[in-house]
């Protein structure tokens, strides 16, 4: 394996030449990405564009077929376990144990992450996601929206500087969506670097400092939010992902 040059120090996430092959199919074809500290990056793209694959590679769940990733300056080819402490992922799968209560789930993950003063931290994070009253309810009995909130609680329990949200509002009814939005708004303040993938163009533009469009495993558009014309963005999106290709 070739040694790669170290990443620029102020990028929270740096990815170069990421490729991923599944069987006979390219999921990602040479993706380059750079995310600064505290930046909120939104990744748009149709189904099958490779958004989830990209997020999973950045979150160390999947190894790329080729390419390099640096998180907070550390190359993931080295000791990924150390880097994992600095990140977390919320996807439409909750990672929760249905037969355990919300409290027990959080305590489990808290211990796996080695969080000190666990009891207090659990209560704090439960309050942030407005689940204090449900702490001792079994996770499997919660509605989708509540489970999503519990998943967010699980993700921010160890206060990671980097947070990945893979379609965080997918599959929720309108009321649940608005609560989750509120929570994400309060959770994603300050220094946290956030990467969000979404289908929802309007919503995504509200969330991000920078936008990226992924199509067929490649970055086809990238711009800071302020340079993007909200009204015309849909045309841009269609042009980048739609007819003619």
């Amino acid at each position: 394996m070739a040694k790669s040059a170290p990443a620029p120090p102020d990028a929270a996430i740096e990815a170069r030449g990421l490729t991923k092959v599944f069987g006979d199919r390219y999921a990602l074809r040479g993706v380059d990405l750079s995310v600064g500290r505290g930046e909120h990056l939104v990744i748009f793209g149709p189904n099958g564009a490779g958004k989830t694959t990209l997020v999973k590679i950045l979150a160390t769940l999947v190894k790329p077929s080729s390419g390099d990733v640096w998180l907070d300056g550390s190359n993931l080819r080295a000791r990924p376990e150390l880097v994992r402490r600095k990140l977390s992922l919320v996807s439409h799968q909750t990672f929760l144990y249905d037969n355990l209560t919300v409290y027990e789930n959080l305590r489990f993950y808290g211990r796996m992450y080695g969080i000190p003063d666990l009891e207090r931290n659990i209560r704090e994070v439960a309050a942030r996601v407005q689940l204090e009253t449900r702490l001792h309810q079994r996770a499997g009995t919660l509605s989708h929206g509540l489970q999503r909130r519990a998943a967010i609680a699980r993700a921010v329990l160890h206060d990671p500087p980097i947070l990945f949200l893979d379609e965080p509002e997918a599959g929720l009814d309108p009321r649940a969506t608005s609560v989750v939005r509120e929570i994400l708004g309060s959770v994603n303040t300050g220094e946290r670097t956030v990467i969000i993938t979404t289908h929802n163009l309007e919503r995504g533009l509200e969330l991000g400092d920078r936008v990226v469009i992924l199509h067929r495993g490649q970055v086809v558009f990238q711009a800071p939010r302020r340079e993007v014309d909200a009204a015309g963005f849909r045309r841009v999106y269609d042009r980048c992902t739609g007819a003619g290709r």
Partner: protein
């Protein structure tokens, strides 16, 4: 690291205690195997002979396989295995956590099935030489079984794959366990059993080490 292994173990014990589905079905299955084998060999009222220890180990082996399938199946729901893989721990910690759960689980099954077995054959229930045999054999089953369960769950024929992988490899443990148990039931001195215990211990250590080293290659995507 040990703390995290225990955390995973405790989580598995807690989840199982909530439903008790797997433990009940495996226990019933193991007892059924006992009974069926007695009928199959037509040895209802016969005295203890060479076949007898094999019946116990057939029950524990097949019960172990049934339970083994569940080890990682439970982590597939809600993508919990991904949740575990996100944690800042060596992949081997996940192996040891699941291994510990599997080991405790099978030990529990053995603790119930063995006295039933002994009673069915009118053998004395207090046999101090038997627990070491069971411990070493179950450790071997757990060591190899946990690794193969992780492989099997990711194939298309997940239920059949575990026995296909596990049984040939487990042959030395099964042979040693049956031989040692036979010696115990026949009231032979400890010394004669020693070589079989050593074989199982060697298997256990080799497989624990080997599985620890290769486990990360199995669960990475």
């Amino acid at each position: 690291m040990l703390g995290q292994v225990i955390t995973i173990l405790w989580k598995d014990i807690q989840t199982e205690l909530r439903t008790k589905e797997v433990i009940t079905s495996v226990l019933v299955f193991a007892l059924l195997v006992l009974v069926i084998f007695v009928f199959a060999f037509g040895i209802g009222e016969s005295p203890v002979n060479e076949v007898t220890p094999g019946i116990l180990w057939a029950a524990l082996t097949f019960g172990g396989i049934l339970g083994g399938n569940r080890i990682f199946a439970v982590e597939k729901e809600n993508s919990r295995l991904e949740g575990l893989m996100l944690c800042p721990v060596d992949r081997a910690v996940i192996y040891w956590g699941k291994l510990a759960g599997n080991f405790v689980f099978m030990l529990f099954v053995a603790a119930v099935v063995t006295p039933v077995f002994l009673a069915l054959f009118n053998l004395p229930l207090f046999l101090p030489a038997l627990p070491p045999v069971i411990l070493l054999a179950v450790a071997g089953f757990a060591a190899a079984g946990t690794l193969f369960a992780a492989v099997a769950i990711n194939t298309r024929a997940r239920d059949i794959m575990l026995p296909l992988l596990f049984l040939p490899v487990a042959v030395p443990v099964i042979v040693a366990a049956v031989e040692a148990t036979g010696l115990v039931l026949a009231g032979r001195p400890w010394g004669e059993m020693l070589i079989w215990l050593q074989i199982m211990a060697a298997f256990d250590i080799i497989y624990l080490v080997a599985s620890t080293l290769v486990f990360e290659f199995v669960i990475e995507e």
